[in-house]
Symmetry: D2
Subunit: 342 residues, 4 copies
């Protein structure tokens, strides 16, 4: 089958012909890929950011945001039928360790087992995963339209869900960055909370997308954005979701908070630097977020099925992965790029 | 092997010779039984209470509170070694459905699969269960000493854990019934909360056991118990745990609550009858409790390993199951009866 | 001034001329009434239901759902200006006891101090309350349009808010009764949760109102309503809010729940009767609800100000209180009746 | 009366003779001081750290940890009698704003009104505060023994209480610093949670105090402390409470956490610097803490009354404030210094 493989850090991945996978273990599932999302984390993987902490064996088939149809299953798989449309949680979990039993999928002791990072991913015609990583889609759903919910969307949902109990009527929430993650985060906030939602971005197109996604207000990141948010919210927001997480956003994002507010870090790349005196006087919390659970993914897929969350995406043939990567690097993609096998 | 089997509702179960089980599925585990607890639910099973809702196929090997050592495992079992001391969660779960992924073991869509009720239990030399139902004990632990934590203790722990966030300094909690469940509940309350703990029972021996277990005060159930509790707590307790749940305890237990208090129902047998006017004016909650999760069981086993929870039990040889049943029916057991294969 | 006073239980209240109130204490506030809601609790008060538990001194000015404008203030009042549009929380709280400091307004140790029940209410031209009971409305708001949020709406909001953390994507919630409380409850559910909302009522007009309020589905209470809800929800709802609470609704409402679901009792009048076996096996919770906090009222008023909650009401001149009472008793009011001083 | 006043930043405060305060407002209370705690924040005040954010008018009577007896009350005070032993919450709150109604005392819109910082404090014979800032002590309590619970102890309690729901059986918590705050934090952890508690300090005396306070294990801060904690906890603690908050502790403290753990910052002085990649991959939270609520203070006083929390302190006559300040600066005080008027 065709697959997009990374052969060396710092190089563009290549379209290769590789053997089609078979289910090897009793709980394994082969998914025929309908679409695989391309996200900033793929750029970080290609650039070798994870080489130290989560090593990959090269060549590596990329693709950690995968959706498609069940193609083959191992003998112990009991909840799936061939042809079911499905989306794949980005971590394969054992189901037996303490973390798995508590529903804390990202801390499975057998992991991380991450397609597209520690094993072959979904920028290919087929992907092998396991039954616990599968979330079924509604009958007739087109998987390509939802693929990017599997990681980027899931990360946004997971962070928003942590904030639900704090976002009461009269509260406000800010989405810093209205791109691939942010536009899903805005929709999750509107679907799950009564908070006033403000989107902040440097791009006018992104702010337009934010309004289409239901943002109550948008603020251009022109240098005055923290003050603008404090004015709009009467002293600061209850929650700020940083979907960028670069040095350019972190300080401003924290400055948008009201006392006792929480800064949710979803994107990554920079450094959080906070003197303890204002952190204590403001009683501020900083909350890191790592993807999400399988239960979160099922919740997000439900919102999508109810029409409350829509993924804005641009499709590329699998063969054009290189073009998609270039477009992402140059900021030319709105919403999310999806690679679709022909 | 020897097994205690129920052949007909309303009859005493019999000691039978039956075939030794083998692991049939890839995730199955055969446990050599160290001890099996006998609890009031066994009497309810024998008396046919569950025949309508959760039917059993007779003859049935009884025993749903099981602990022992790993004897044999299926090929997909990855976390266990032969000889590991273990305790068995009372429900076999699939690990793949939405409830399992969220850690809600009692709502597994493949269930209920309950040894001692819907399949062969642990009043025998060996028991078959699956890997997800196994919680490991510390090396060198004697399983018989903990067997009754598997269901009765777990039910008490599960209810107490729901109350933890409401039981702040200055709060008070009542254990109605200081027997098999109650004496564990009292210890869990002392280990996990700063609440003042009051035990209520008709038996002086049970009240002595309650004091040994750390109860701050004991109240004899002499008809004035609700008023006594209101006096001791300055107007009512924040939480009342009813480990009996019969018509004789329910009304009094609810009358022990302060406004906005919660009544946790763990034992069962009677009927809750509450006029809506006092329920609303008092803003009272009534919370049913069904056993607990595997995560709960791991937590309880940890408390036991730390010496914070000790099971008070009386051991009987497996062959003397009939005597144990008679003693339980006649109220002659303090703490818990444990059946031990010879 | 004119006031509607109850002179004897079981009799229709009368329009009387009484002295206009003055602020007596340093924190007292006199409100010029814009509107006072009439609710089923007023019928219960007239009928003497509370005579035993919360005694009133007769004659009593009725009216516990009050909104208007600040007319006069005591010397210690610091947050209000004459003419501010306001709504009145139904309990006067001291602000100093442990319950008040924790935000638990209904358990103030100085209370209950309830206008319209333990002291003069707002079916009059003026009402005396205290500063802590006042929630400001947005400038230019017409108070009569919101008066019934003060108790009925608040009770619905308070119950819904308890359920927010349990009502995740994919969950479902049922409003039993789509009248004065229910139509607010439905809007609160839609504003604060992603749950599918189902309304159940005997009246076709009420079901139409429910759809106008955003209910996703409506079910006629024709005897098959519990089964209909179980079918629509795939096995039962996560939360059922009983805004009626009579014997005719309670059993059916509980039967609409899925395992581990919660029954929120808001209306009252009947008796909850639940055998412990299904309560435990279903792990069902029953949660009583008593009005709500001042913080809740501020939240609800915010939702109204944002257009997310709209009160459907019918206005009567204060002098026509008797007609309004008759119409309420005969089920001829949709939404809420509001008495407006001329 | 005698009072310790700061006349200029950077100078030692002086013992002055000043007029005795009278209750001026209706809700004001004059407290005869039994004892006033001296804490590191007093040093920060003297050194001018707060001059920019929370300005003081000099000369300023220091003392923000105050306990004593009710000496005089304004006319609206209803819950207190002359002679009642009391402890003073460090912020005077209005009781009427949204934050106060929600129990969020540190965010009162009328504040901050902090004795010892924005108004005359309790290093004197008498202090004026208001009724809402008063928490009653049990009859016969000696206030000097509890004074330091008012701020330092309260800050520790407040942070621990945030962690209660996450600290389940089997979890572990670390107290970095076992001095004035830390030794209270350790006792709160033992009283309110089943967590294993590890104390880390550079001082052997402090570690001895930690063991006396119930710490399960102690670790000397010799440079290897983060690794030692990870070893003792099998991979990191669930919660780390940093009662120091200087650059010397912050990095190590964060390195003691397990994945998904939380770092509670209570002490302050340094800067938190965290690259986003490990913060996200570890899903770490950083939680700032500002003193606590009046409800928290009542909870802490209850624990003290039950003997679960004991303050270790060294008393100095009020006149010897200078000696106490010198001893604190030089690290010669174990537990807490308390100034007692003669």
């Amino acid at each position: 089958m065709k697959a997009i493989r990374l052969h060396a850090y710092g190089q563009q991945p290549r379209l290769d012909e590789v053997p089609e996978p078979q289910p090897a273990g009793p709980d394994e599932v082969v998914v025929r890929i309908g679409g695989a999302g391309l996200c900033r984390t793929d750029l970080h993987i290609m650039d070798g950011w994870f080489a130290g902490t989560i090593p990959s064996e090269l060549p590596l088939v990329l693709g950690h945001e995968n959706a498609g149809w069940v193609h083959a299953v191992g003998p112990a798989v009991g909840h799936l039928a061939i042809g079911d449309p499905v989306i794949c949680h980005p971590n394969l979990t054992c189901g037996v360790c303490g973390a798995c039993k508590a529903g804390d999928d990202m801390r499975c002791v057998r992991g991380p087992r991450l397609p597209g990072l520690t094993r072959a991913g979904g920028m290919a015609e087929f992907l092998t995963t396991n039954e616990r990583a599968i979330v079924k889609l509604g009958a007739g759903t087109e998987p390509a339209g939802l693929a990017a919910l599997a990681d980027g969307g899931l990360s946004a949902y997971h962070a928003v869900r942590k904030a639900v109990s704090a976002l009461e009527p009269g509260s406000s929430a800010v989405a810093v960055g209205a791109g691939g993650l942010g536009h899903i985060g805005i929709q999750c906030l509107k679907a799950m909370t009564p908070a006033q939602v403000i989107a902040v971005d440097t791009s006018e197109d992104a702010l337009k997308l934010a309004l289409d996604c239901g943002a109550d207000q948008v603020v251009s990141a022109d240098g005055q954005q923290a003050q603008r948010v404090r004015d709009l919210t009467g002293g600061g927001a209850d929650a700020v979701f940083d979907f960028v997480g670069e040095d350019t956003t972190i300080g401003d994002a924290v400055a948008m908070l009201r006392p006792a507010g929480t800064y949710y870090l979803v994107g990554y790349g920079g450094t959080v630097t906070l003197p303890t005196l204002p952190l204590v006087l403001g009683e501020i919390s900083v909350v890191g977020n790592l993807i999400g659970t399988s239960t979160d993914l099922a919740g997000l897929v439900t919102l999508a099925g109810q029409g409350k969350v829509t993924l804005h995406s641009t499709r590329y043939p699998l063969e054009a992965a290189g073009d998609a990567i270039d477009d992402l690097r140059r900021g030319r993609i709105h919403g999310r790029a999806i690679l679709v096998p022909s």
